[in-house]
């Protein structure tokens, strides 16, 4: 260039290098913007002016910028530590929540500052990374439009500052007055601390009440160990388990952790590889619980017989004091008790006995003593301080607590009552008459999530109602059953003017610090000292759990002292034709706190398959005796009260027993368009059973009566008992949908589950014969070409896809042996895929939208059937019947073997759904998302379309997660294989027992390939040549050969 002497110029100024030109030219190509020196505000240049204006605009815009509702406190993401939020890249924050005192560790997915999905924290020992349906559904409670939005101070709407000062004023006036606090179970360290201060400073008396209470267990523990302890069972090494009415796989205790541990010993392949035994579960129960359906032997016994059974087994095990009690056992039950005892004894040190919460204290005590004598203590069961009741006093169970509070209120001596959450007017047993007692309190502070029965019973003039912060909005610290502490960090600044319980009490006490963040942080800072605290705190927030050194308690070593003076209270055999009434916590309603949660309401009960309602469950024989049938309206009376309910026959339930589910009958005003208007006939879900409940024995009442009251009720059940029964030519065996065998049969013929086509009602013995019968069983359209050639697609992008096409082929295996039927997968799927809830009326019409459903079949006779569960989602068939019938090609095969559903292309002929042999396709008959408030939209997963009316939808194997994984793998070539391996659909991720395995079939080392090669693997309806990508591992039960046969197990003609 230097050699080039020819000079080019644009203007004469340039040529002459005039001063004006030099100055201007320097401005033109500045290296960096420099506003400081020459461009003072006095003499702004054009560029400078624009800069200042835009900076000003941006700054003023910031103040209104509340789209990203990050709390002002410092919270830390779990894994992706990014400085700022990247749009479309979700972040995961570790936090924790509790319901009914059961703490779980969570990882909450947050999109641009709004939490969208709840997942489990693998480091938390109460759930090992999985969650149950309650915990997953809590996300929509956060965005519930019916939440209380502003404090109501003596009838006037206020804001948070107003509430704080009102509380402060109130607190200052309470000196010397009688203050009572009512809370639910709350294993929160901060709440315990502040409860202590309430007591010392204000002399407040603390009452703890939970409708679903563990009173009997507490009473037993206080007798056996002298203090209120809680057993934490461990199923990892348990080879023989006896559950005395304990639904540990369903609604009792840390069920997610229990299910997960229990499943470890049900993994046939792992267990046989270790040459260890498959565990064996005995369940003794009156109702039919999930645990009962998963048991190898279920003993159907009346409520009183369970106690007798416990005595009989304990006596065999040499427990001192075990003798007689309860209702006499039948000969078969007595024999069963002996067999069970022998099996437990044979598994000394590997055997475990559990007692359920509805059983009397003596059964809990017997279970504890049996565990002592079986050597389970320290190995399979550890006892920890029951940390759920703040300010616990010995003997003060929940029912006693609420009775005492009722008495205190009625005596008019309570000046101020502070209710921290809960809904006691609804949930307290009828004999308390809490609504009337509440009126006697001179001043009430009620912290509530929404307007409910209790807030309606309050007198506006004396009440301060404060919206309760959701656990994703508030700071806290929760202690798990075994002392593991986790920090509850909020995901979002409170959406409304809400406060947490601790903040309310701190305001009331007149504390200088009423900010939840500072309260929690300062408490921990003073607990572990300021040195290095900051780093430690960051680590805790990141991981979600604290080291065990920080646990407030460790396993108790209190010696077992025997049964003490615990007496049976289970009554005797009713002779007057009356029924036992059993109250159970709802699988979906629990105690009623989830009444406004559509995900839970629409989730079918795993046993009855009823949605949006509860029913009075009766055994078939009892129903016949009473002359009632499914859907008949009945009157149920007990404890001198009467309620109305709908009858529903539950095979396998004890005779002369009616099972009532708690948590229904709450006024429910739903916000979903299609729950209202002409499609909606009732704003109440189910039937309130609390009026027939008594606080003396909250879970059981003898002398109940059920009588037909005339009329019927349309129950929204998604699968009917009668469907699979009493119908001509049903032939369930021939369908072989759920294939199961005993351990012995499995050992004899490991390939029992793969008998190929069913011919003349008989399974073909092997595949070769199948091939003989159908030599060319192929799709008439030929196989899908997984090596898309360039000719197929002129689009260059598709060429890339063709290269990728060969790379992954997705598949899934569902192990029926570890699937407990708990429905966690269904909620996970709803949460991930923005699935619409359609309401009771639409479910009645058979239009539920769940992409994965839990099929339930009865096996055996009518009286004592076994129950099997089978999760069914789209099987992603290789020769999918849905694909070729769509006239517009809206459902097509993907190069990775998925049946892609193209919503944009779908015109809704519904032909694909008709032709789907598994009926897994769901149609949007209406625009189900119509009319939903903005608040509800915040939960939506932005990676999944919200489907419009007239469009078909179905399981996609969570294709959005697959694509995310593939993108990440492409960006991180070094660890691509690990990233691909970690791609997990929501159902598999949420499964407590990891019964669902997903993976790349092309990767020979993947777990899914390993499982598909095992002998138990089979696909559904293989005779249709579907070649499903999802396969099932057959169920293996481990029956005890010595166990007495069920009366109706033989000679039953109908199965199903």
């Amino acid at each position: 260039m230097n050699n080039n002497t020819r000079k080019y110029w644009r203007s004469r100024d340039e040529l002459q290098q005039s001063p004006v030109y030099v100055a201007e030219a320097a401005k033109e190509f500045q290296d960096e913007l420099d506003v400081s020196a020459e461009e003072s505000t006095n003499d702004p240049s054009r560029r400078g002016f624009m800069g200042w204006v835009s900076a000003g605009l941006a700054a003023s815009g910031l103040t209104g910028c509340e789209i990203i509702r990050r709390p002002e406190e410092k919270i830390l993401p779990y894994s992706v530590a990014s400085e700022e939020i990247l749009p479309s890249i979700p972040q995961y924050y570790a936090t924790t929540t509790q319901a009914g005192g059961e703490v779980v560790g969570l990882l909450v997915e947050s999109h641009e500052g709004r939490p969208t999905k709840v997942e489990g924290n693998p480091q938390h020992r109460s759930n090992y990374g999985a969650l149950n349906n309650f915990q997953q559904s809590t996300i929509i409670d956060l965005y519930d439009p019916q939440r209380l939005k502003a404090p109501k101070l003596m009838g006037k709407a206020g804001n948070r500052a107003g509430a704080e000062s009102a509380l402060k004023t109130l607190g200052a006036s309470l000196g010397g007055k009688k203050v009572a606090v009512l809370s639910g179970y709350s294993p929160s360290i901060q709440l315990h601390t502040i409860a202590q201060r309430m007591s010392t400073k204000l002399g407040a008396s603390w009452y703890t009440y939970e409708s679903v209470s563990d009173d009997h267990q507490m009473a037993a523990m206080e007798t056996v160990f002298g203090e209120a302890l809680r057993p934490r069972y461990s199923f990892k090494e348990a080879h023989a388990v006896l559950s005395l009415d304990n639904d540990f796989l369903g609604t009792e205790g840390p069920s997610v952790a229990y299910a997960s541990e229990w499943a470890e010993n049900r993994r046939v392949d792992k267990v046989t590889a270790k040459d260890a035994k498959l565990s064996r579960l005995y369940a003794v129960e009156a109702r039919y619980s999930l645990t009962g359906s998963n048991a190898d032997h279920r003993v159907r016994a009346s409520h009183g017989q369970i106690e007798a059974f416990a005595h009989a087994v304990a006596a065999e095990l040499g427990v001192a004091g075990a003798s007689q009690g309860g209702v006499a056992l039948s000969a078969r039950q007595a024999k069963a008790a002996k067999v069970v005892a022998a099996d437990l004894k044979a598994n000394q040190g590997k055997a475990l006995v559990l007692a359920g919460r509805s059983q009397p204290a003596v059964v809990h005590a017997l279970a504890a003593m049996m565990n002592e004598s079986l050597g389970a203590r320290g190995q399979l069961v550890n006892y920890y301080t029951d940390y759920r009741r703040p300010m616990h006093k010995a003997g003060m169970g929940d029912m006693k607590s609420i009775q005492e509070l009722g008495k205190a209120l009625n005596s008019g001596s309570v000046d101020a009552l502070i209710i921290l959450g809960g809904n006691p007017v609804y949930s307290a047993p009828a004999d308390i008459n809490f609504a009337a007692a509440l009126k006697k309190a001179k001043q009430v502070v009620y912290v509530a999530d929404q307007a409910n029965e209790t807030s309606a019973a309050l007198d506006d003039k004396t009440a301060i109602i404060i919206p309760q912060s959701h656990s994703f909005e508030a700071w806290g610290d929760l202690v798990g059953i075994d002392g593991q502490v986790s920090i509850q960090q909020p995901l979002i600044a409170p959406l409304f003017d809400s406060m947490s319980e601790v903040e309310v009490l701190a305001s009331l006490l007149g504390d200088s610090e009423t900010n939840g963040y500072k309260i929690v942080r300062n408490a921990w800072k003073s607990a572990i000292g300021a040195v290095g605290f900051h780093k430690q705190w960051r680590r805790w927030l990141h991981a979600g759990v604290l080291a065990d050194a920080n646990a407030p308690f460790i396993a108790s070593s209190a010696p077992a002292q025997g049964l003490g003076s615990l007496k049976s209270n289970a009554g005797k055999t009713p002779t007057d034709g009356s029924l036992d009434v059993i109250f159970v916590a709802g699988h979906n309603s629990y105690d009623g706190r989830f009444a406004n949660n559509a995900w839970l309401q629409e989730l079918p009960d795993p046993m009855t398959k009823i949605t949006w309602d509860n029913a009075a469950l009766l055994s078939p024989a009892t129903a016949t005796k009473l002359g009632v049938a499914d859907e008949d309206m009945v009157k149920v009376s007990a404890n001198g009260q009467e309620i109305s309910s709908v009858a529903w026959v539950m095979p396998g339930q004890a005779d002369d027993t009616v099972v009532l589910t708690l948590g229904y009958g709450r006024k429910f005003s739903n916000y979903l368009e299609y729950h209202q208007g002409s499609y909606h006939d009732s704003d109440v879900t189910g039937f309130d059973v609390t009026p027939v409940r008594s606080s003396t024995n909250a879970f059981f009442a003898a002398g109940g009566k059920v009588s037909k009251s005339g009329g019927t009720y349309d129950v929204a059940a998604v699968q009917r008992y009668a469907n699979s029964h009493q119908e001509p030519g049903f032939g369930f065996e021939a369908r072989a949908l759920v294939r199961e065998a005993s351990v012995e049969e499995y050992k004899e013929n490991p390939g029992f589950a793969t008998p190929g086509i069913i011919h003349h009602g008989q399974p073909m013995p092997d595949q070769s014969k199948h091939a003989l019968l159908h030599p060319e069983e192929r799709s008439i359209f030929g196989d899908f070409d997984y090596t898309l050639t360039k000719d197929d697609n002129r689009n260059p992008l598709m060429e890339n896809q063709a290269l990728l096409a060969a790379k992954h082929q997705w598949g899934m295996v569902i192990d029926l042996n570890t699937c407990t039927g708990c429905n966690a997968c269904m909620v996970a799927c709803v949460s991930e895929n923005n699935i619409s809830m359609v309401g009771k009326d639409q479910v009645r019409r058979g239009r539920e939208m769940h992409w994965i459903r839990m099929d339930r079949y009865f096996v055996g006779g009518d009286a004592e059937p076994e129950i099997v569960h089978q999760p069914i989602a789209c099987q992603q068939c290789e020769t999918a019947p849905c694909e070729n019938v769509c006239p517009v090609a809206a459902t097509v095969h993907s190069p990775e073997g998925l049946n892609d559903m193209v919503y944009n292309r779908c015109i809704g002929t519904r032909y694909c759904a008709n032709n789907c042999p598994l009926k897994v396709r769901r149609f949007n008959f209406y625009n189900y998302a119509k009319g939903q408030p903005e608040l509800v939209h915040m939960q939506r997963n932005p990676n999944v379309t919200v489907r419009f009316r007239g469009v078909m939808e179905k399981c996609t194997y969570c294709v959005q997660r697959i694509n995310k994984g593939k993108r990440r793998a492409a960006l991180n070539a070094g660890v691509a294989e690990q990233i691909i391996d970690r791609i997990t659909p929501a159902c598999a991720q949420g499964c407590p027992t990891q019964a669902i395995t997903f993976g790349d079939l092309k990767n020979e080392k993947s777990e899914v390939v390993r499982l598909k090669k095992t002998a138990r693997d089979y696909t559904l309806l293989s005779e249709l040549n579907l070649q499903s990508r999802t396969s099932f591992l057959a169920k293996i039960r481990n029956p005890n050969p010595d166990f007495p046969q069920a009366a109706d197990a033989e000679g039953s003609t109908q199965a199903g």
């Binding site: 299609y674 699968q719 009917r720 469907n723 699979s724 119908e727 001509p728 030519g729 049903f730 032939g731 369930f732 021939a734 369908r735 949908l737 069913i758 011919h759 359209f781 019409r845 058979g846 239009r847 539920e848 459903r853 099929d855 339930r856 079949y857 089978q870 069914i872 019947p881 070729n884 019938v885 769509c886 006239p887 517009v888 090609a889 292309r905 779908c906 015109i907 809704g908 519904r910 032909y911 759904a913 008709n914 032709n915 042999p917 598994l918 009926k919 769901r922 149609f923 949007n924 008959f925 209406y926 625009n927 009316r949 007239g950 469009v951 078909m952 309806l1021 005779e1023 249709l1024 199903g1056």
Partner: protein
Amino acid sequence: MSDTNDIYQKDSIFPPPLVSGKHDFHSITETICGVVEKPFNINWLLAIGFSSTFLLMLGASIGYLFWEGTGIWGLNNPVGWGWAIVNFVFWVGIGHAGTLISAVLFLFRQKWRTAINRFAEAMTIFAVICALVFPGIHVGRVWAAYWMLPIPNQMAMWPNFRSPLLWDVFAVSTYFTVSLLFWYVGLVPDLATLRDRAKNKIAFWAYGILSLGWRGANRHWQNYERAYMLLAGLATPLVLSVHTIVSFDFAVSVIPGWHTTIFPPYFVAGAIFSGFAMVLTLAIPCRKLFGLEDFITLRHIENMNKVILVTGTLVGYAYAMEFFIAWYSGAPYEGFAFINRAFGPYWWAYLTMVSCNVISPQFFWSKRLRTNLTVTFILSIFVNIGMWFERFVITMSLHRDFLPSSWDYYTPTIFDVSLLLGSFGLFFTLFILFLKFLPAVAISEVKGVMPQADPHWEGYAQKEAH
């Protein structure tokens, strides 16, 4: 009516004449055109008022459907197709007799067809119009229903040619087009007659335009005859193909009760069966009301009853064969589907179907019954009901298929019912308009089968005719 009966019951060894009564060419023209040219009578106004009320109901029902979505029907998850599809197949079936009578019988030189072919073809057109309403409106996103048509677009996105629904689109629209052309070509000489007789401007122009300048020239007749013959030849395979393809909607699927190779012939037989029944249902009152007894004689009715007897028996055979195959195949799902069909929750529908379709035509073995107009009319309505139920029973196979967990029951809503009734409203409105504004009997063809049309007719010698 009585005199035709008398004539007919002479039981001569010769077939009775195709036109009874003392008619010459002029009186035929007068009688048939008279229906069109006479002023509106009260019966006709009442009829059109009644049927258009139902048509309005159809409009309202469809309007609400478009506003709310298919959720207003009784559909649910296993039963994705309900009355809309039942109605579609039902109407397509009805639409069979017309072309069959016109085209097939024309090719076979069955001269008795002339009196009823116009009528039957009109019925075909209107039935197919009724049928075509349903595929369009039954989809979830009606505004995108045209995606079923192969319209070139910038995405190079074509319909899925493997889908029987797409075949349906082609089959039914082709059938409609050819039937319409066939009908129209046949109408041209008669429209010209009406034009020539028109007494007001509007009628003159309207018939004038529609008659395409027909002057009755030799050349016109020659072209006309050839075109009519070609269209008849074209329409004949369509009679068989259209319902064969409609049956593929079911037969190509995997659902037990649908997945059946017998469907194509069985559907065609059923379609002819129902089509003839509908012709009778319409013809018997019309011939009375418009005084067409001399043209639509008992001989026509008896012939149609014979076709109904044959096809009804064929359909009965198909029902039996389905059961046999369900057992013989050994497929448990298939076996269950048929036992469930007869004894399951929809036993009443199955019973209705069998009694109407298999039992009721058997009465036509008796000559006395098949020449009795009242019996024929009642049985033709039974057959219509039975054939609707046949489609209902088949469609409802969906309610219990492979996995018992997804079994459910379908209950129609008021909107399903209003659609069915409304489709009858559409059909009868069109039909009643047709009766008033177009010649219901093919004038030129009827004249062609008159004895006078025979150049060797002895009447010429006797100078009896004009």
